[in-house]
């Protein structure tokens, strides 16, 4: 149940702070998104630059890069996901505790990028795990990564705690573990997780 904005302002003037549990809960969640500390390719350099003083990711409470998936809330897929690395990425994602979010950073992570037609590069990590924010760019500038953070924060803010569209950790039915692709004789098997990724309809 949302609080009426005008009433909230009026009460604020009188020194009364009104909020909902949902708002407070989501405020807490979005203000301390701890990313997982791993980089896959050159996008990771931009990710590192984002955490440094000039771009200062600490403003968003997201400067604590955790070296363990158990302590991380978010995964930044920063770079080319090779077919050899993809099972490990999915496995790391499975090891993260809910609630967990994914930012696919850069052309390679979202589609394979310049290596799309290569024999060894996955055509986008969204084929195996659900991605919350995609950022294009090769590599995206730190500002683009900050934009992705803010988009993700808005997304978390808008998540209701009950009913349709609630986060996975509050939904007992939701799928929390995603099948890890197997290294086959010619390609990864399966080539995509049908429950996560369907072939997008191209409008020409």
């Amino acid at each position: 149940m949302a609080v009426d904005e005008n009433l909230k302002i009026e009460l604020g003037k009188q020194g009364v702070f009104v909020t909902t549990v949902e708002e407070l809960y989501n405020w807490g969640r979005r203000s301390s998104i701890w990313p997982m500390q791993f980089g896959l390719a050159c996008c990771a350099i931009e990710m590192i630059a984002t955490t440094m003083a000039r771009y200062d990711l600490a403003r968003f409470g997201a400067e604590v890069f955790r070296p363990s998936p158990r302590q991380a809330d978010m995964m930044i897929i920063s770079g080319t996901v090779t077919k050899k690395m993809a099972p490990q990425v999915v496995r790391l994602y499975n090891q993260m505790a809910e609630p967990k979010y994914v930012i696919a950073m850069g052309a390679c992570a979202i589609s394979g990028g310049p290596f799309k037609q290569g024999y060894n590069v996955l055509k986008g990590i969204d084929r195996y795990i659900p991605v919350d924010v995609h950022i294009p760019g090769c590599p995206p500038r730190p500002e683009a990564l900050l934009q992705a953070f803010m988009t993700l924060q808005k997304k978390i803010d808008a998540q209701p705690l009950t009913g349709e569209g609630r986060p996975r950790h509050l939904d007992a039915e939701a799928q929390g573990e995603f099948p890890v692709p197997v290294e086959g004789e010619h390609d990864l098997e399966p080539a995509s997780n049908k429950g996560v990724w369907t072939v997008p309809v191209v409008i020409r």
Binding site: Y119, N120, E185, H186
Partner: protein, 223 residues
């Protein structure tokens, strides 16, 4: 630096019975290379590294080359007996005809080594080795025991071209996983058909995307 002919003479003097062929490079650089017989490769490599005059102590690069089977069409003049009717009577006449004969030149895999000398500041000396074919006789001697820097590059060639280096200390795939069966850099590599989503197809990708859609449509109509 000596010319490739002089290097060939020096090697032949040092390693008796060695099979060496000069492969000329017609380009302006004129970097001719030496084709080694695989059975003498180790002794030739050892000589080039340890000889006081060459001291090729630095292996800068190992590359693989895939030469697929090549069909060669040749025009040959053939003389044959033809029965013709000349002035109302049948005669056997000899006639010369041009005929196109095709034969297949079997393919092979090739490995190229570029050697330099840091001590003598000269190079490169280019060595080549060729396998017998592309399918079952793909063994070549490893030069990793001579130049340690060959280790990863030979592993990469094993991975991407399928050349088996005999004597390599740790011959595993380098870039692809162990259970992978193909050799992606070979000319006849068939990639998995994953062209289901191509938002901006062009050129060869457009053809592959169309072929994929045709295959999917064919499968759906068959069901």
């Amino acid at each position: 630096m000596k010319t490739v002919e002089e290097i060939k003479t020096a090697i032949e003097a040092a390693v008796p019975g060695v099979g060496l062929t000069i492969i000329p490079n017609p380009g302006p650089s004129g970097q001719h290379s030496l084709l080694l017989a695989p059975e003498h490769a180790a002794s030739v490599a050892k000589f080039l590294r340890d000889d006081a005059e060459f001291t090729l102590d630095f292996l800068s690069n190992v590359s693989g080359v895939d030469w697929p089977d090549k069909e060669i069409a040749e025009k040959v003049k053939v003389t044959r007996q033809v029965t013709k009717t000349v002035d109302g009577e049948e005669q056997s006449v000899e006639e010369t005809v041009e005929e196109v004969r095709k034969h297949v030149q079997p393919g092979f895999l090739e490995v190229v080594y570029h050697l330099y000398s840091v001590a003598k500041k000269h190079g490169p000396v280019t060595l080549r080795m060729r396998t017998i074919n592309r399918s079952d006789q793909v063994e070549l001697p490893s030069l990793t025991p001579i130049w340690r820097s060959a280790e990863f590059q030979e592993r990469e060639i094993f991975d991407l071209y399928g050349v088996v280096f005999v004597g390599h200390p740790d011959l595993r795939r380098l870039l692809m996983w162990d259970g992978f069966k193909d050799h992606p850099m070979r000319r006849d590599y068939v990639e998995p058909d994953d062209y289901e989503y191509e938002p901006t197809p062009h050129d060869s990708v457009l053809l592959k995307a169309k072929a994929h859609q045709a295959a999917v449509a064919g499968r759906e109509s068959a069901q």
